[in-house]
């Protein structure tokens, strides 16, 4: 090997700690990019494919009970390829010996063997349940532990408790794919229906696929319209319809939006790590000045030196790729798998994503080049005199010739400040003064360190703020569901009857019976635009406190008037209060007036409110309801849980057919939980940036200590103990940490706004109000203090360990 390459090689190998620091800091960024790009591509490909693999229904219609005969009629509708009928009903289950019930939806398949739509993927145990056996979807595992062969208890709406054997766990990535908040699913054969006291040979859901144009939304919609038409013409009632493409998971755009946010953070991390590299490289070049001087003295020209260090940079890049590419590949798969599990789709197996690989290689090679370019150019252009003077002038004793220099502006400022403080009687002890001034000595290095650490901190704090903002938003949304307990019955009961029973419990303050209706919003041309759920609380309900964007809330006397959620803007972007829209309700097309528009979570279709007084009359259910909201004086979660249980029991004991009782906030919790997944991702990214930041700090501190070994020797010589030396370094590290914390506080404000806007658009399709929380600030303060101490403790200990001879000896 030529001596110059030999030198480059040694530079790489000899100082392993430094090489590791540089390589790791490149690798962190490349890893983050690799994970996100890889996961993005894997999810993009597998989400659709695995979704399509189970032959998902293009059309789902929830309708009134129908039978085999009508099913065959529907199968004949034009464009329909396959159609299957199922019966879906809710029960509550729990493992034996548990007290907590979990609501699930049970799907009855006509035949597990012949089933063609929404295929089940076996996870463990059997795939075909026999009589009085049940399969469970793997989501149930989030609620409690169960495996095939176990026996569980279930409870029907009439209070009956029975047991049933679980024979298998399956994955169903199609049913309810659109709604990742839907309850877990169970599957039984028609022979088991009687066991659940359900009517046999009767279905309430239709799943269908289309013949052609499986990914053509308009075509699917037209087939759906034809089916609905058929249903209504035969006096059946379709109260809810869904449609989706075969090769696109219904939640794909949401997932992509989340990944997009993560991508932005990944790029940020890349930036931070490149500033870290620039830092380390310029320190390295500084340490190498003498070598550069010697090489130039021996005839080395700028180009040769430049090329040598360029190769060193590329080597750093290559090494980091060796770490980051495999780790990134694994990380990408793990992330994709996590998302897949949460969203209910499976992956097609581990693989390296070529695009991610290319991007990683490009980034891994470019970042060190870009970050190191300036230091390397500077280093290779340095004159021999300058390169050797730091070292040689001292040794040959010619320093005196240089004479005195003037202090820099910063130094003069520091001196003046110290004097000013002394004049005020504030005396900073010299050891502390040393730490303070040392902090500002390497200005560029300090700026880069602060930059990375501050960014890490700001993102960290912002993530907490965003988390609270999202929760707060969910809370606001919760204002539409204020009830402490919601109780549902299998059939309508009279309002005053339910009220009477409920009020016997002293904890109950008031009871409201609500009505519901489904409708479709129609485009001006009469085509189906969107589903709309109409909730009908009493107009004076205390349980809804809407956030009106426009117009007014519902009134008792309203007829054919609704207050509608913001998502109406998707269909009618220019809608104003007072306008009329065409809706299809109870099979009739009618113009209803929009009296107000309110904010709501835009996740699932459009929601509208109309007064109970009008809707119940229309449904011939005046003064009756099957869904009641109970308000208590105490809104604690635990109180609500107990109350729900007691009310549930009380109504059942009194002969009411209760289907479900929900404590008020549990729905919110589910919503928050799914947001927490997103928050968790954001936190992981925040931790990564914090890691890069503290790596930067650790690097800076060890460089600082390394460059000041001589000074440490002097301090030792004039009486500094180990404690003094360690304290000096620690205080400097802490100071940098605290400064960065101060800056993070400020920077976190715009970051929070930016991040929460992006996140809320991605998830709710509407901006949310930003809320700040001290939690993130406190945690980050604690973290930054710990990180700073950790980052300086090793350099500090090394500094204390240096003997004076090592640093001052020159004999």
């Amino acid at each position: 090997m030529r001596p110059r390459w030999r030198k480059v090689f040694s530079d790489l190998v000899d100082n392993k700690a430094r090489t590791l620091l540089v390589v790791l800091s490149i690798a962190v960024g490349v890893f983050a990019i690799g994970v996100i790009v890889g996961a993005y591509k894997i999810i993009e490909a597998d989400m659709g494919k695995s979704y399509a693999a189970n032959n998902p229904a293009n059309i789902e219609i929830r309708m009134s009970s129908f039978d085999d005969v009508f099913l065959s009629t529907l199968r004949k509708v034009d464009g329909v390829k396959q159609a299957e009928a199922r019966r879906v009903f809710g029960v509550r289950i729990r493992p034996l010996g548990e007290t907590q019930w979990t609501s699930i939806n049970i799907i009855t398949m006509q035949s597990f063997e012949e089933n063609e739509i929404n295929l089940l993927v076996p996870v463990s145990g059997a795939t075909v349940p026999l009589k009085n056996e049940i399969l469970l979807e793997q989501d149930i595992l989030d609620e409690f532990d169960v495996s095939s062969g176990d026996t569980i208890e279930f409870q029907l709406s009439d209070e009956t408790i029975k047991t049933i054997r679980v024979v298998g766990i399956v994955q169903d990535s199609s049913t309810d794919a659109i709604d990742f908040l839907s309850p877990p699913l169970g599957y039984i054969s028609p022979k088991t229906l009687r066991f659940f006291k359900q009517p046999e040979d009767s279905f309430n859901r239709l799943y269908a696929t289309v013949e052609t144009g499986q990914d053509d939304e308009d075509h699917i919609k037209s087939v759906l319209a034809a089916l609905k038409d058929k249903i209504e013409k035969n006096d059946y009632f379709a109260w809810r319809t869904f449609h989706s493409k075969t090769h696109e998971h219904p939640l794909e755009s949401t997932v992509n939006a989340v990944l997009g946010i993560l991508m932005a953070l990944g790029i940020l991390i890349m930036f931070l790590s490149s500033s870290l590299i620039a830092n380390t490289l310029s320190a390295l070049l500084n340490q190498h000045l003498r070598h550069i001087g010697v090489m130039k003295l021996l005839g080395g020209r700028d180009e040769i030196i430049f090329r040598m260090y360029l190769v060193l940079l590329l080597a750093f890049g290559l090494l980091s790729l060796l770490i980051a590419v495999p780790a990134g590949g694994q990380g990408a798969y793990a992330l994709a798998k996590y998302v897949g599990d949460k969203m209910g789709f499976s992956l097609l197996g581990y693989r390296i994503v070529p695009l991610a690989l290319y991007i990683q290689i490009a980034v891994g090679m470019l970042v060190p080049l870009v970050a190191g370019f300036v230091p390397v150019i500077k280093g290779s252009k340095v004159t021999v005199q300058k390169a050797l003077s730091g070292d040689l002038a001292r040794e040959s004793g010619e320093q005196a010739e240089k004479g005195a220099e003037r202090e820099s502006r910063t130094e003069r400022f520091q001196l003046k400040l110290t004097r000013l403080l002394v004049d005020r009687g504030i005396r900073i002890p010299r050891p502390l003064l040393i730490s303070l001034r040392n902090t500002f000595r390497q200005r560029n290095r300090l700026i880069l360190t602060l930059f990375t650490l501050t960014m890490g901190g700001a993102i960290f704090v912002s993530v907490f703020n965003v988390r609270v903002s999202l929760r707060n938003y969910v809370q606001v949304v919760g204002n539409y569901f204020l009830a402490d307990v919601t109780i549902g019955f299998a059939k309508p009961y009279r309002l005053n009857e339910v009220e009477q029973f409920a009020l016997t419990d002293p904890r109950v303050a008031s009871v409201e019976g609500w009505a519901f209706a489904s409708a479709e919003i129609l485009d001006v041309d009469g085509s189906n635009a969107d589903n709309m759920d109409i909730l009908a609380p009493p107009a004076e309900s205390k349980l809804v406190s809407p956030l009106l964007v426009e117009g007014r809330w519902i009134q008792k006397t309203d007829v054919k008037k609704i207050a509608i959620s913001e998502s109406i803007y998707h269909t009618y972007p220019d809608l104003k209060a007072g306008d009329k829209i065409l809706i299809k309700i109870n099979g009739r097309e009618e113009y209803w007036e929009v009296v107000g528009i309110f904010k709501f979570v835009g996740m699932e279709g459009t929601i509208a409110y109309a007064p109970y007084e009008y809707i119940s009359r229309e449904q011939n259910m005046a003064n009756r309801s099957s869904s009641y909201r109970i308000l208590s004086n105490n809104h604690d979660r635990s109180h609500q849980d107990i109350l729900a249980k007691d009310i549930d029991l009380y109504f059942r004991e009194n002969g009411f057919q209760v289907t479900d009782t929900t404590p008020g906030l549990s729905m919110m919790d589910d919503a928050s939980e799914s947001l927490d997944i997103l928050i968790a991702f954001l936190l992981i990214m925040a931790m990564l940036t914090a890691t890069v930041g503290s790596m930067g700090l650790a690097g800076t501190m060890s460089m600082n200590v390394l460059e000041r070994t001589r000074e440490i020797g002097i301090m030792r010589a004039i009486g500094a103990t180990d404690f003094e030396i360690i304290r000096m370094v620690l205080v400097e590290g802490l100071l940098i940490g605290i400064i960065s914390f101060g800056l993070s506080i400020i920077l976190a404000i715009p970051f929070t706004y930016l991040l929460s806007t992006i996140v809320s658009y991605a998830t709710f399709e509407t901006p949310i109000a930003v809320v700040f929380t001290p939690t993130g600030y406190f945690i980050w303060l604690g973290l930054v203090v710990i990180l700073s101490v950790l980052a300086s403790v090793i350099p500090a200990r090394n500094a204390a360990r240096l003997t004076i001879r090592e640093v001052l000896a020159y004999e």
Binding site: R2, P3, R4, R6, K7, S10, D11, D14, R290, H291, V294, M295, K296, L297, L298, G299, G300, R301, D302, I304, T383, V384, Q385, L388, D391, L392, A393, E395, S396, G397, E398, A400, E401, K402, G403, A404, E405, R406, E811
Partner: protein, 249 residues
């Protein structure tokens, strides 16, 4: 070539070097005129701070000149040092002179033979394979061939300085410049190194050495003394013969 031989190897004409600082202008060299002939073993003697290293930096071209000129007639070319760019200078220097420092300045991560090969690698005067052979020969000359594949830290100071000399000879330069080459060595080792320089002068090379050690004076073929940036005439020995404790009362 014949014409070249009539000229001195190095001409320093009215060389002035000032360091400008906030405190004012500090004159380090106050108009030095010095001609160095081929084959000379010139000692530049001065105390710390007298300006001797600055003077050395003037004809290695390592430092900028304030006024005056340094002309070097070597390798068939006459070169006015401070008219060259830093880059040209680097290549020229590598081919024309070997520089030896008190602190050896070996690259710590390279073995001895690689250190000696470095100037040849940089100047491109020798083919890589040839340069290795030559480096080994040079190490043999300084009696270090058995250590050729060791790192500098694993040999003694005197041995390191011998390697530095071998490295200075790598491109076969006509001129060797040494800045206190024996400064950090014990007396016996220092003497060996000095003998090495004497042998090199005998074999026809020109050596310029900077030192503060007046005891070396008789061993140079010529010496000049520098005091506060000026050359003073060679003094007869015993100028400072103070007999402070002389006891005749």
């Amino acid at each position: 070539m014949t014409q070249e031989n009539e000229k001195p190897l190095i001409e320093l004409n009215k060389v002035v070097k000032n360091y400008t600082t906030e405190a004012g202008v500090f004159p380090a060299l106050k108009g030095i005129d010095l001609h160095i002939q081929r084959g000379e073993f010139l000692g530049i003697i001065g105390k710390s701070g007298a300006g001797k290293s600055t003077l050395l930096n003037m004809f290695t071209g390592v430092d900028q000149i304030t006024s005056g000129e340094v002309i070097i007639h070597a390798n068939g070319k006459s070169v006015t040092l401070h008219e060259m760019s830093e880059n040209e200078l680097a290549l020229w220097r590598g081919r024309t002179m070997g520089v030896i420092y008190q602190s050896f300045q070996l690259l710590p991560m390279l073995t001895l033979v690689q250190n000696v090969m470095m100037p040849m690698d940089m100047s491109g005067l020798y083919h890589p394979r040839k340069s290795r052979e030559r480096a080994l020969e040079l190490l043999e000359m300084v009696e270090l061939s058995e250590h050729a594949h060791k790192l500098p830290t694993y040999i003694s100071g005197g041995q390191q300085q011998r390697v530095a000399i071998a490295r200075a000879l790598a491109n076969d330069p006509p001129l060797l410049v040494a800045d206190e080459p024996t400064g950090s060595l014990d007396s016996v080792t220092a003497d060996h190194i000095f003998q090495l320089f004497e042998n090199l002068v005998e074999s026809g090379r020109t050596v310029v050495m900077v030192t503060h050690d007046k005891g070396l004076m008789p061993r140079f073929s010529r010496h000049v003394e520098i005091v506060d940036g000026e050359l003073i005439a060679p003094s007869p020995s015993g100028r400072r013969l103070g007999w402070g404790q002389e006891g005749i009362k």
